[in-house]
Structures are given as C-alpha cells and as structure tokens.
Symmetry: D2
Subunit: 380 residues, 4 copies
Amino acid sequence: MKKKLNIGMIGYGFMGRTHSNAFTKAPHFFDLPYEPVLKTVCARNAEKAAAFAAQWGYERFDTDWRKVVESPDIDVIDIASPNDTHHDIAIAAAAAGKIVLCEKPLGRNPAESEAMVAAVEKAGVPNTVWYNYRRTPAVTMAKKLIDEGRLGRIFHYRTVFLQDWTISPDLPQGGEGLWRLDSAVSGSGVTGDLLAHNIDTAMWLNGQISEVSALTETFIKTRKHSLTGEDQAVTIDDASLFLARFANGSLATFEATRYARGHKALYTFEINGEKASIKWDLHDLHRLEYFDYADESQLRGWKSIHITDGDHPYMSHWWVPGLQIGYEHTFVHQAADFMMGLGAGTPVAPTFREALATDYVVDAVLKSGKSRQWETPKTA
Amino acid sequence: MKKKLNIGMIGYGFMGRTHSNAFTKAPHFFDLPYEPVLKTVCARNAEKAAAFAAQWGYERFDTDWRKVVESPDIDVIDIASPNDTHHDIAIAAAAAGKIVLCEKPLGRNPAESEAMVAAVEKAGVPNTVWYNYRRTPAVTMAKKLIDEGRLGRIFHYRTVFLQDWTISPDLPQGGEGLWRLDSAVSGSGVTGDLLAHNIDTAMWLNGQISEVSALTETFIKTRKHSLTGEDQAVTIDDASLFLARFANGSLATFEATRYARGHKALYTFEINGEKASIKWDLHDLHRLEYFDYADESQLRGWKSIHITDGDHPYMSHWWVPGLQIGYEHTFVHQAADFMMGLGAGTPVAPTFREALATDYVVDAVLKSGKSRQWETPKTA
Amino acid sequence: MKKKLNIGMIGYGFMGRTHSNAFTKAPHFFDLPYEPVLKTVCARNAEKAAAFAAQWGYERFDTDWRKVVESPDIDVIDIASPNDTHHDIAIAAAAAGKIVLCEKPLGRNPAESEAMVAAVEKAGVPNTVWYNYRRTPAVTMAKKLIDEGRLGRIFHYRTVFLQDWTISPDLPQGGEGLWRLDSAVSGSGVTGDLLAHNIDTAMWLNGQISEVSALTETFIKTRKHSLTGEDQAVTIDDASLFLARFANGSLATFEATRYARGHKALYTFEINGEKASIKWDLHDLHRLEYFDYADESQLRGWKSIHITDGDHPYMSHWWVPGLQIGYEHTFVHQAADFMMGLGAGTPVAPTFREALATDYVVDAVLKSGKSRQWETPKTA
Amino acid sequence: MKKKLNIGMIGYGFMGRTHSNAFTKAPHFFDLPYEPVLKTVCARNAEKAAAFAAQWGYERFDTDWRKVVESPDIDVIDIASPNDTHHDIAIAAAAAGKIVLCEKPLGRNPAESEAMVAAVEKAGVPNTVWYNYRRTPAVTMAKKLIDEGRLGRIFHYRTVFLQDWTISPDLPQGGEGLWRLDSAVSGSGVTGDLLAHNIDTAMWLNGQISEVSALTETFIKTRKHSLTGEDQAVTIDDASLFLARFANGSLATFEATRYARGHKALYTFEINGEKASIKWDLHDLHRLEYFDYADESQLRGWKSIHITDGDHPYMSHWWVPGLQIGYEHTFVHQAADFMMGLGAGTPVAPTFREALATDYVVDAVLKSGKSRQWETPKTA
C-alpha cells in the first residue's frame, strides 16, 4: 500500500480546479510513491465549498483556513486562493509543519514573499510554487536542449503574454472573478499575473536577469468596483513592457498586456543562440520550433517538432505520438514531480526561494515603470 | 444522491485507458445525472488486470468477460478490447440487458456488425460507439456551422489520416500492441482503423456516401509474426485511398496510410461549400479554419478560430479562453453526453446502427480496391 | 556583341504578358548567350496589338500570325494565344524552321498534340512548353532532393489545384477572358487548365503515371455564352479528381476544381518517401517543407525552408537571403534556361514530347471520368 | 509621345539593381505620364560601371558623380550608393535643380539629413526616399484599414527586423559589400540599416514616436577590416531594442539585430487596436493577418488575407488572384507612384522631410542606448 498524502486545498476557483484535477489524475498516469487524498477544500462560503467538495470528491469541506492548517490529518496545504491570502496561509502552514504548495505569485510584493520564504525555510518543510508552464512538454524540452548546450551563446530572448479580456471600459474591477483587477488583492496587474510566468520561464531557461527598463500603463483610468458599485481609480498596470539584460549578456524584450485584441492567452518565447534558436507558443503548445545552424546549408529551416513522442518529456505517460494533451496536464506534471521529489527527499523546483527571484524582477519592473530608470533586481 | 452507473470495462490497452479516464473525469467537469462507478476491468491476464484496476481505482478485476456480462451489479459493458472480440461480447451483453458501449469499428466486417446492431436493437438496450473525434470541440463546431446552413451547397470534401509508424520492414505483425497489423484480429488495415474515423465524421457532417472507387495497397508484403516468430504474408491494407460521391452531389477524396513519413496522426478534413469553407487538423485540434464568402471582398481570408471560448462547444466546462484541452477530452465529452442521454432517455450518437453505416462504406472501399470498380455502399 | 534572338509573340493576354516580361527581364539577371529582341506581337485586333506593343516595347505589331511565322527576321515563335490556336501556329512555325515555344497545354487533345510533336521533330527545331512551375526555386529544389535519392522509395504523392472563381452561376462562358470555360477553345476544363500543371510536375518529380481512376463533374450545367448571349450547356469539367498509381509503385490523389471556396490558386503537392517527405504550396511559394527521418529522433519535425539563399536554385541571380521573388520569375527562369540551352545546343525541358506525355494523362483522366474504369495513359 | 525622364543612377550595388529594375519594369505595368530612360550609371570603378550599364541597358556610364549631377541631359539623380555619399550628392543635385531620389537612410546623422532637407526644399526640387516597404501591397492595405478607422484606438505596436548574417566572428568589416559594418560609412549599425524601416512604417501607420528607451549592443567587439586586414574595434550597433510611446498613447517594442539565428530578413509588425488588430511578415509578404472584434463572437479569429486580388493595393497591375509578386515590386510601385506624382505635381511620400523624422528617432535610439535614459526624438 502506498502512503497517503492528505491534501488540504485552500480555494475553489480557477486554480482550485486545476490543482484538484492534478492530484486526481496524476496517480492514473504516473507511478507515484504516494496516494494523494483530497481530504478537504476550504472556502469562506460554505455552500460553494460543499458543492466543490462534492464535484471533486473531497472528503469534507471547511470555511476557515486556519482550521485546515491546524488539522492533524492534513499533510499538504495547497494555496489556490487569491494573492492577498498567500502570505498568511503559507506562514501559518509552515509553522504547523505542513508541506506548502502555493499558486504563483508568492506574495503581493517582495516583503510578503521574503517572509514566506523565511517561514518555509525555517520550518524546513517541502515547498513549491505552481509555475506550471515549465512542465509543458515542449517547454521542458527547450530546457533540455539548452542544458545540453545546443544553442551555444545566447544573444536574444523575446517573450510576450497577450490577452484582450479587459478592453471594454464597462468591465468592473474587484470581487469574485475580478480580483485580478484590484491591486489591493492581486499586488499588481499584468506584471505579477502574466509577466511573472514569462520571467520564471526565462530565468529557468536563460539565467538571472540583471537589469530592466520598463514601460507600464493603465489604459482605462477608472472602473466601477463590482462590490461597491462605485467608479474607482484603476490601480493595476494594464500593460507592462520591459527591456532586459541577462547575466549571460543576452538581451531581451518582455511584454504583457490585456489589451492585445485578438489574443486570448498568447504566451510565447523565442531564444536565439549562436548555434540554434527555439520558439514556443501556448496556443499550439505541443510545437517546439527549432532552427539548427549545424544543418546542411541548403536545408536549413525552422523545424516544427510536435512534442508528442514517447522520447519527449512526460509524453510516455500519455497516449500515442501525435495525440495532444492540454493546459491542465502542466499541473498534473507538477503534482507528479512534486510527489516523486517528496518520495526521494529532494526539493522540487520552483521552490519558494526560486519564486522569490521572480518576484524581485516583477518588483524591479514595476519600479522602473515609475522611476523611468534602469533598475537592478535583487537576487534570491 | 445520484444514481450509480456501474461500469464493466473489457480491455485495458490504449482504449481501456481512454475510456477509464473518460468516466473518471466526466463527473468533475459536467453536471451528470449519474455517478459512474469503475466496478471492474476485465483482461485475460490476471496480473495485468490487477495492475490496471489498481492504477485506475476499479473496485475489482476479472479475467473472463462472460462473467462480467453476467454480473448483476454491472450496468454498462464498455468494450475496449481488440476488434475480434467486439461481436461476441456485444451480443452477449445485449442479451444480458446491459447498456453497451463499443470501441470502433463495430465488427470486423458487415456481417458481424449487422448481428451486433440486431442484438442491441432486439434487446432495446442503449448503445453507442466511440467515434470520439465528433466531440472534438472544433469538429462539433463544424457540425453546428453546417447545420445552420452557413456553407450552402457543398461541392468538395477532402480528408486524410496519415501515419508513418509501420514503414520499417522490421516491425513485426500480430500479438499485443500489434494486432492492428493482423487482419484476422482487426478485420482490415488502415481502412477500418483510420478511414473509419474519416468516414464517420464525413457522413455526420455531409450525409451518405453513395459510391466509391478505391485504391488499396500493401507495401510490405511479409512480416514476421510476433507470436509465431515466422515470416507471414501481410494481409492488411497499408494504404487506402478512395474517390467518393456523396448523396448531396459533392465529390471527395479520402486517404489513409501508415506510410506517410513525417505524420504521426494527421487526421484532417476540408469542406468547400458555395458560401463558406471549413478546415480542421487533429495535430492542432482547437483550430477551426473558416472562410466566409460573405465577408467584405478585400478582407476575405481563412480565419483561424481558436475554439477555446465559453461559447464554443464543450469549452464552458473547461478552463479559460485560449487554454487547450487534448485528445482524451473527446472521450470525456462522449462519456458525459452518453450519461446525459441516458438520463434523458434519448439515444446518443453514434449508435450501433450509425456505426454500421460506416462499416458498409469501409466494406465498399475494400471491395472496390479489389474489384477495381465503383462500388455502392449499403445504407444502414 | 551578343547574338540577337528575335521574338514573335502570338497573343497579348495573361500569358502574352508573362512571356514578354520573361524575355525583358532575363538579360538583366542572367548572363545569357543571346540578346532577346521583342520584334513583334500579334493579335487579331490591331488596336490592342498596338497598345500591347507600346506597353512592352515591341518594335512592331501584326494582326495575322501567318505573316509573323513567315517573317524572315523572326527567330522564335512564342505561342501565348488560346488553346485552339496552338496546333496550327506550332505546325506552321516548325515548317518555317522557327524555334517554337508554346504555352501549355500543347493541343486541345492528343491528336493535336501528336501532330505538333511530329512537326517540330521533323523540322528539327528547338522547342519547349511553358510548364512554368517546374522553375519555382522551391520546386526545382524538390527535384534536386529527389534526384539525390534523399526521399528513398516513394510511397505517396498528393496534389491539388484549387480555385473558386467560377462558383457563381451568373458567370458567362466563352469569349475573351472566358475561353477557358468553352471546351471548343480550351479542349477541357480544369483537367487541361490546372491538373496539367500537377501532372507535369508529378511526372517530372516521380516518373510515369501508369493508371488512373477519375471522377469529373460539371456543377453548373448551363451558362450564358458571352458572345451569343444565350444559355448553352457547359461542356467543360468544373472539377476533376483522380487516383493514380505511378510506375514506381507509389499511390496518388490528384484534384483540381474551380469550386473550392476560399482558394485562389492553391497549387500544392506532398511526396512521402521512405526516408523523407516534401511539401510545397504556391500561395507561399518560397517555402519547401521537408521532413527527414534521419534527423535525431526527438528532434524530428517538418522543416520550413525559405528557399531564398544563394545556394538555392536560381536565387543567386536575384536579391539577398529572405527576400522573395514571385510568380513571374518562374517564366523568367524558363526563358533564361531556354536561351542557355539554345546556346549550348541542348534541348530544354519540357520539350513538346514531354508535354505530350502530360496530355496523354489528361486524356486518360477525361476518359476514365466517362468510362468509370481505370485507364492507362499512353506513354510519349 | 510620353515625356522622357532621364535617370542618372549613382551606385551599382544591391540598391543600384533594385532601382534600375524598378524604372525598367514600371512602364510595362503602370500607365505613366513619363517614359523613364536609363541614361547613365555612375561608379568609381569604370569596369564595373560599364558592365552594369551593359547589363541594364544604360546608355552610358560615368565614374564621377559630380559630372552626372552637372549633366544637362539628366533629370533625376537617384542615389543608390553607400550612406556616406548621400549628403554630398543630394545637396549638389538639388543645387543643380535635379529631381533627387535617395536610398534610405537620408544621411548618416541628423546633421547630414537636415542639410539635405534644407537643400531640396530651398531648390524646390521633387524628392523622395526609398522606404520601399510602405508599398508592399499588404502594408499599403494595412495603412488603408487604419486610415478608415477600423482598428479604433491603438494600444500596442510591436515590430522586429531580425537577421543572422553577422554572427560569425570571422566575418570582416568594411569595404565593398561590408560597408554596413563600418559606422564611418554607414552612420550606425542595425538602427539605421534595419530599424529605420520599422520606424518609417510605424510612424506612417501610427504617427509620431514621442519617447524611447533603448538597449544597444555590439556582440563582437573587434573584426578584421577587409581593406586594411587589421583587427579593429567594431563601432556599429549589432543589436538595437527600444521601448516607445507614440503620441497617440500606444506602447511599442522595436527590435533589430543581425544575431537572431534562423532569420534572414524577418521584418514583422503587429498593431493591436480596440476594434481590430493587424499582423504582417516580410517572409510571407502577401499575407495580412487581421482580427476583427466586430465578427460574430463564436467565429472570431485571425484572418489570413492573401493580398493578391484586383481590389487590393497595386495588385490590379500584376497577375491574377493568388499569384505572388516579390520584394522587387515594392520598388517598382515606388517608381510608378513617383512618376505619377511628378506628373500631377504633388509630392510623393516619403519626402526627405519625412525621412528626416525617421532619422531623428534613429538618433534618439542611439542616444538612449548610451545615456540609459528615456529620450525624446525631435520632430521634423
């Protein structure tokens, strides 16, 4: 019999679903040292918590996260609630000796994040942050190719995360489903919500970002608040663009916006190296585009590699070549990797500390947007 | 409390996994009138059956499908075993009054299929065949557009299913994982395995196929049999191409092969109507390409619609716009639709009878390949 | 001083323009043994002939092609007039000892074409037919790769030529600009106009076609004739599809239509070999898509080669890598190749005899469409 | 008889060829008020000048541009020589009352450019700068759509010009064919050579750029000089990236480099407006990608418009729908537009003054790269 791993899920929204699905599916497709058990889900609204528990097969539900954190039968606290709750829950969970998983970003600002890192490290509890895109098979494959030295010296990195769902001035801000527009809850706008993904992937693939010059903008200046019904100033960044220099000397452009008409969730990156280049696009997530200068001169071109074969990362666990998996599987992979790391006693990236490094870049970007100066992110 | 629906799964291979996953996931994402219960999985090899049951959470396992069919606690027999078992199991299950689900194709030949249809219809049991691709959101969307009359008179249909996994002459035939190369088990080669999908979708979208002229080929004439170790004649069709005329007067090319170097599972179709055209491709399964002649003249073009929005078929059940689902979800949708149809007391397409219509076309294609004449498929 | 080559152009329509442009441009980009001189252009309508001569710098114009053929100062008769004129002009030109260039197809039927071949061969005059697509750099590159054996044994060939300009039933037939819809002038519909290109390329790349089974259709049964103003039966094929077996054992689908809504001139082909595959598309004519099984397993994919480098066919004569040429350049290449062959005393493909081979396949396709039998094309 | 327009071409390199081709072809495809005459080509090397004159049909050649400028039989001075010659030739030509065409960029720096503008304006001579990409049919179409207000308020502009031809450290700098690497001749690296195109198009489409923050880099610090044979410091910018804010409030990223492995001449732009978005790519130059939010919700997508129809800009002058033109035609269009403007007595954009505006942005970018501050370009 496998050891049971009792999960206490905090939050039942978009991320509550992706995390619950991850723990449900992982054991069917991976040979894991643990059997995850959906013990409880916690939400302030009892009715919603109950419905979510029924839908996903949680054994019970709770309405006070403190109670979950203190429950002796809970092994893992998985934080899938809005950003303004991450700090308190993570610190309490660490203090209670729980394993802590946290949806990104860590805190709303570096101060919160630093406290969270300190808490898990002091408690010595396993921890990880759900930067799920690392575990898209094509992205993991990109990491492998880079680590093997196939790109050579890196010259350029360019990445965007483009959405268009907030263009209408009639969209309200704040409240359920709209807390991402309320900086008091979210910490920032697209910089923390979207660019944090680009930054996490970029530093994983290409190393530390050493300086940034940013341009941030709030296109719609006031919106009605969904809870108060009153027009209030919009305090998040609607768009965030920055130039960067990496520690390895390569140059980058980063851009995220929710005002790019025509794009739903267009997360892309391209890396140009001396010997080879790589491109990826979340809207067609299995394709890795690869250009290899070592190819015969007259036959050089961008290769569209459909990352669905058994020798591609994670894919031997799924179907047969050519058949796609989707967005949710990036979470399944992270859940599986996490449980395997737990079994082996090794940390599973990205840890809270690694996520802090991303938060420092987010902070430098926001600062530069205001200072109109180049800023140097702290290192974690 | 929802009524339980006890599943007896026959088979534990590729399709055993997709079906088990479908029944496991459907309740988390759809509001269903039943709670499916993975009661038992059946395989001749007890060790494999036990392992599969453990992996997927089946309550027990069996090694004799007759015992499963006769079990009073089983509501649904789901046939996911090789083609040569479909006939006997389906007929016995119908006779036992079970709901019968069957992986495609129905039988190995029209005689088997006709007997299966007769059995379920005589018994009056709900039945369906897993032609899963109908429930790819972009394919369902294509159906919707056609049903709304947006394409007008249809002139052309063209479709392929291209693979390349049997090109090596060193690949053996027969035995576990390779029964698709053994016509005694499979019934035929690519015509029944791949083209059956193209035909099912085509008749669903564009109506009855009225005549066909086919060209079939076995490129590699002998292969070692994996069980006997001896070289034996290859009796399946490696490639199958046909011209067709539909009852509505449109013309078509169909092609399937396992010798198209570079393609893993390239199932595509394109339909050209007087007013609009549609294209789809399994390797990028969320995209529906759509050309509308009613567009302003200078702005006419093929539109790449990323079928991931809440107003697209099935997608409100999943994540947020732009985020992909995959191959497995087509089975989840069929499982969900099946349970909803069951609750409503309405048949869920494709029924055994509809699948028989596809088998008749498969048969006409195989006949035409031999007769070198145009052949007219029977209608179901 | 280079020897002058005096051109007598017959026709001033679409093809009169592409040929005139070819002879005008070739000397600026290729080092040729001849200086082509636009001596005269011939059209029945004096006003139009005069205007065309002025536009293109012809030294004079004529209204009777017989006079041009008999002119002692003309070296080359270039036939760019409608199909029903090819036969008489070519035979007279050959008899007069002129070099003869002819727009495709050769004659309206094999009898005409055979007479034309006999004439030029009897006269011993250099001759060529403007199957221009062979000289698209990416297509020439495909030929090179195949000739080098890079694809290995060929299994599959699939090709289409899709247009949509005749869908409206209000489009008249016959007369200037619409003679392609009048089989008395054109010989056939899409089979001779479009599929002839697919067939010429296919036999150049993949050898003789040994048998065909076709499906032809006339979707709009009557159209007003633009000259008589009366409704008349449409006698051309609107769509033509065929299955083929090549002499090398490979299988093919061919399809041409003017009823594929959304496609202007979508000429594509794909070839699947044991070792590699190739794709090409006229709407993005510089790209050659190439899949090489010899690539490292995990990095296999379709490579998009932008055929614009100096080591790609013809491209060293044009601009710099990445910068495109267009449709017209395929004619410039043929004009240049023709003059270089003329200087070297070697025939320049495709000769009249090679074009006859294509006409035989066209004829077999049209026959099969009527006989509903497999037909074997004659070999030239 | 049309009035002759006698051209004196200065330079015989890459741009000497594109300009000569433009003047040769324009009269065959456009109905122009002038007959351009290739009167003389000028190059310091008499042998090369003679060969070029013979290749292109120039009536004579010269080796001293001053002589050409002073020739009474020359109407137009077309400057296609390296950047360090633009200033002196343009000023002398204007002083001599000649029409002046100049390859981009105008001067090597704003001081040179300002003097050139002053000279042509003082002399009152017609003038234009060859920012050819404006006249790519798809780009002209983009301008039309924007001018019609179809995009609404613009939020984002992003554009790159990526090449990879200078990655090898063994590539020398300076001398024939390599003067673009020598800042004494070129003025700057990719900022003036490539980004100038992006900037010209951007300001044409989206208005004045009001501020920039740039990051420039020289990856290879020393290269052998092809004339001296000695290692010398590289003084050009190898890569140039900048953030920008336009006067209309939209935000932008610009990037050019010659170190983007895999890209030959990838000039792309994308514009996101409130109502619609546009994308374009020089490697597939006929496609305009267009997303229109006014489309029916479930059918929204990026439309791939193949800009080759008669109702698309410039295309009625060429072939039939679906058939491509290429890079060279952008120059043909500019030559044709220029002669039509000359006939009508109206300036033809971009004039020297418009090109000066681009030079001011180039200068601000180079400054910002050094100052690490936001810089405000002067307006012309």
